[in-house]
């Protein structure tokens, strides 16, 4: 188990800068997620940590060991590839035992450790199977066992669940977290599935165009996004253009004037000090609005329902609000009845903790 330190890491492919001066510290035993849209550089970063790419600038440390120039086979990372990369000319047992053979362990030790690893992923009954006789989920578990069995310094997972069906993905999520935590492994997990990241990660980073947009716990990133792109990428948000009027009574809170009325909200970016009259955006999540019967004093929208969408656990409404160019989306958890679209005017209130003021 190691901590991983990344300092000023830059990787270019020709003219394209894939990773821009990245700095990151991943703690011992942490389950760290790299999240981002495709092409953002998350797989590049993972492959650089594994040693398949050489960074153009910057350093990479495992604990205090500088591994920047160390070849992949001497890094003791274990990677689960997106395609699994199971060797088709070997059976399950041979695949899993390969890494231990490289460490020249005695045959008896190898056998007991492989069997233990296969039991952990519930594949012990399939040890002599050929790879092409396994289903996608079984292959995924063999790939995981092959990586776990070597007791790596850190575990690298490259979208390991992307080829599985929804049900299996749910099961494997918690399974991977359980296994990593039991073994105390430092783990880096690449995915573009935000539900996967939010539900499993200790901490996560959102990558955008080769740069970290934000790093933090799942709750920090969801509750306190520091930029519009983070707020957009994780979950859904309404964005309202406005101007700073004055500091609110609570420290760190400000009153903001918008075309829909005045809102009180908070600042999430610690490096930013707003000035009077600054143009800002408010980010308010749909579930932070609550339908109320009577018109509130502040921090609310009013409008007619133009559209709704029923998703089972919740229902989305789109309110046409006077003065706003885009409709405001609000959601209600498992409502008894669905309000119809029409001319009736509704009021939706929000709390100031749920209103994020973003520096455009």
């Amino acid at each position: 188990m190691v901590s991983i330190t990344i300092r000023n890491l830059t990787k270019r492919f020709g003219d394209m800068v894939a990773l821009k001066q990245l700095n990151l510290e991943i703690r011992k035993g942490e389950l760290f997620f790299l999240l981002g849209p495709s092409g953002c550089g998350k797989t590049t970063l993972l492959r650089t940590i594994a040693g398949f790419y050489q960074p153009d600038e910057g350093d990479l440390f495992f604990d205090s060991d500088d591994v920047t120039r160390r070849p992949p086979h001497r890094r003791n990372t274990a990677m689960v590839f997106q395609s699994y990369a199971l060797w088709p000319h070997m059976n399950v047992f041979q695949n899993v035992s390969f890494g231990l053979q490289q460490k020249r362990l005695p045959a008896g030790v190898i056998e007991s450790r492989v069997n233990k690893a296969l039991r952990t992923v519930q594949m012990d009954a399939y040890a002599s199977r050929k790879i092409n006789q396994l289903s996608g989920g079984q292959q995924q578990r063999v790939a995981l066992a092959r990586a776990l069995v070597v007791e790596p310094a850190c575990l690298l997972l490259d979208e390991p669940l992307s080829n599985l069906d929804a049900q299996l993905r749910l099961e494997m999520r918690s399974e991977i977290r359980r296994i990593c935590k039991e073994a105390g492994l430092t783990t880096i997990y690449v995915t573009h599935d935000q539900k996967e990241a939010l539900s499993v990660a200790d901490r996560m980073a959102i990558l955008e165009n080769g740069d970290f947009a934000q790093i933090g716990t799942p709750q920090e990133l969801y509750r306190d996004p520091i930029s519009r792109s983070v707020a957009t990428f994780l979950g859904e948000s309404n964005f309202l253009a406005g101007r700073i009027i004055e500091p609110a009574k609570r420290l760190g809170y400000w009153a903001v004037e918008t075309n829909a009325g005045t809102f009180e909200g908070r600042i999430t970016d610690a490096n930013w000090k707003p000035q009077y009259n600054d143009r800002v955006s408010l980010a308010i999540r749909p579930e932070c609005f609550h339908m109320v019967a009577e018109k509130p004093y502040a921090s609310f929208v009013q409008g007619k329902i133009i559209r709704s969408a029923y998703l089972g656990e919740l229902v989305h409404y789109w309110l046409d609000v006077d003065g706003l160019s885009a409709p405001v989306q609000i959601s209600c958890l498992n409502p008894r009845q669905i309000e119809p679209a029409g001319d009736k005017v509704y009021f939706a209130e929000t709390r100031s903790e749920d209103v994020i003021i973003l520096n455009n």
């Binding site: 398949f52 992949p72 086979h73 274990a78 590839f81 395609s83 990369a85 060797w87 390969f98 092959r146």
Partner: protein, 573 residues
């Protein structure tokens, strides 16, 4: 994936089967039949006699050795080349890897003319050795006599190594690079990972190439003929033509050869077919670039490529020099150079007509090949027509049947009073004894496996859903093929067609046996006849050979550029 059932599939299947039945199975059975039905009586006597005859057994032994050793040498040449080209980046890589393929289409039979000039008793090598005082021209070394078998092995191996090179390159290129990265990631050093992970998975490709190369070497006719080596099965069969229709022995010999090659073919298809690992698909992750070589390793690598290319092309360089030489006797290089032979070749009654004939035969064969190949590949890959597995096997079988066997079969089925007599005598379309139809069919059947493989690879790489999308938008099967599938598999088809054309132009066995009248001679037969004639014949043969080589070298380089690494898909069993 659901395959759409097409109505035309069964029709194509039946037509293709009928074609194979008439022009492949039937002639082969006729040939083999001659060995078993003698004077209306079924007998194993002649086959047993062949197996008990010391001369024939020796011939089979020699053929077997030629096949094995030329395959072994070809692997030793091709494997390192393929690995170097896959792993490393070095100057002029594209040019060198393309030039590597050139020997494939240059028939060793033509090259052998050059080899004799270089290695003959009064040839260039002896002259060179005596010039530096290592040999005495009064007692010249008989290289071809003493080293005849080794020479034949080298000639054949340097002709066949591109087949193995192409197979291994394709297998390496198709592997998911993550498979080797996974090994490195688990602590396996790069070199070791290559041997334990990548190489085993490239083995089916290597083995497929070896099978084709072995059958080729085992039944090679041109090289032993030029080396005057008669104690080998192919030449024994060829000489059997002289008493055709009288002795059943050549036919019995053919039956034995066919049994051996077909057994090997099926054995290898079984072995390889079950574990085609290279098609497991590539991951989306970018491959690490081929590592650039610098300094001494780079020079050694480039030198190795150049050495192989130069050595493989040495006989052909010899032919070229012969074609341009005024006089080349007892000297290292020709004492004078001239264009005279090319001028004389233009006026000679055999040369120009033979070029025209070959172009005609080869183009027609190519068209027939493309039409048949695409249709068959389509049925095999895209439809569920019953019996398509059989068609698949059938379309690969010509690889297992030596050209000689088929040529004999064609002779047998077109004799006076036979079922297919009209193929060589159909006035007013086919003048009497014109082999045009027969040669076109023979060329087409022999090269069909390559075209079918090329087209099938194209169909496999092109997702059926692309066609379904077109059908879904209202395009009929023909529109879909012309607008969608055709353009997508065009590269494969063009390369396959070029190769089929090139191989047909330089086909030896069928050409030598089926063209009996001078005015119908194809190029190879003209070269063979000229080479054996007196006077300036050999020089004219060389001039004609040079013309053919230039033509074919251009073809194969073109095909190589169109197909790239995918060309290996053509030379599989």
């Amino acid at each position: 994936m659901n395959k759409v059932r097409y109505d035309g599939a069964e029709v194509i299947l039946v037509l293709a089967m009928a074609f194979f039945g008439a022009f492949f199975i039937f002639p082969v059975l006729r040939t083999v039949g001659e060995a078993f039905y003698v004077d209306g009586v079924f007998t194993f006597r002649y086959v047993m006699d062949v197996l008990n005859d010391a001369t024939y057994v020796e011939g089979l032994g020699n053929a077997f050795q030629l096949g094995i050793w030329s395959t072994v040498v070809a692997v030793l040449i091709a494997l390192p080349l393929a690995i170097l080209a896959d792993r490393f980046e070095f100057p002029a890589k594209r040019l060198l890897t393309t030039l590597l393929l050139v020997p494939l289409v240059l028939p060793p039979f033509v090259g052998a003319i050059g080899i004799k000039q270089v290695l003959g008793q009064s040839g260039a090598l002896n002259s060179l050795l005596s010039a530096v005082g290592l040999a005495d021209m009064n007692h010249p070394i008989d290289w071809l006599g003493q080293w005849r078998f080794g020479g034949m092995v080298l000639m054949t191996a340097f002709h066949l190594y591109p087949i193995i090179y192409l197979n291994v390159s394709a297998a390496l290129a198709n592997l998911d690079p993550a498979l080797e990265e996974a090994a490195e990631n688990l602590g396996c050093p790069p070199g070791k990972g290559f041997f334990f992970i990548t190489l085993p998975m490239a083995l089916p490709g290597l083995f497929a190439g070896c099978t084709v190369a072995f059958i080729w070497g085992f039944t090679e006719l041109g090289v032993p003929l030029v080396f005057d080596f008669t104690r080998i099965t192919s030449v024994q069969i060829f000489d059997g033509i002289k008493d055709l229709g009288k002795s059943p022995f050549p036919y019995a010999l053919v039956a034995v050869v066919l049994t051996l090659t077909a057994t090997l073919f099926f054995f290898s298809k079984r072995l390889v077919g079950g574990r085609d690992l290279s098609s497991s698909g590539r991951a989306s992750v970018g491959r690490r670039d081929a590592r650039p070589l610098r300094g001494v390793p780079m020079r050694a690598c480039v030198a190795f490529f150049i050495f192989i290319i130069v050595f493989a092309l040495l006989p052909h360089a010899g032919v070229t020099l012969v074609a341009f030489s005024g006089d080349w006797y007892l000297s290292i290089l020709p004492s004078s150079l001239t264009l005279q032979h090319f001028q004389e070749a233009l006026g000679h009654p055999i040369t120009l007509p033979s070029i025209a004939n070959s172009l005609r035969y080869a183009s027609l064969a190519m068209i027939l090949n493309v039409v048949l190949g695409v249709a068959i590949a389509y049925v095999i890959v895209r439809t569920k027509a019953r019996g398509r597995e059989w068609l698949d096997v059938l379309s690969m079988l010509p690889l297992a049947v030596p050209g000689l066997v088929l040529a004999f079969g064609y002779l047998a089925i077109t004799r006076e009073g036979e079922l297919f007599r009209w193929l060589v005598d159909l006035p007013p379309f086919i003048p009497k004894d014109s082999p045009i139809l027969l040669l076109v069919i023979a060329y087409a059947v022999r090269r069909l496996p390559y075209i079918v493989r090329a087209a099938a690879a194209g169909f496999q790489q092109t997702s059926a859903s692309l066609e379904e999308a077109a059908a879904n938008l209202g395009a009929g099967p023909i529109t879909t093929f012309v607008r969608i599938t055709g353009p997508l598999i065009a590269a494969n088809l063009i390369a396959g067609a070029i190769l089929a054309f090139a191989f047909s132009m330089l086909e030896v066995s069928d050409s030598l046996i089926l063209a009996q009248e001078q005015r119908f001679f194809p190029v190879t037969k003209a070269i063979y006849i000229l080479f054996g004639s007196l006077g300036n014949g050999p020089f004219l043969a060389a001039a004609l050979g040079v013309w053919a080589m230039v033509f074919l070298a251009v073809s194969i380089i073109g095909a190589g550029y169109v197909m790239g690494k995918k060309m290996g898909a053509l030379f599989r069993v």
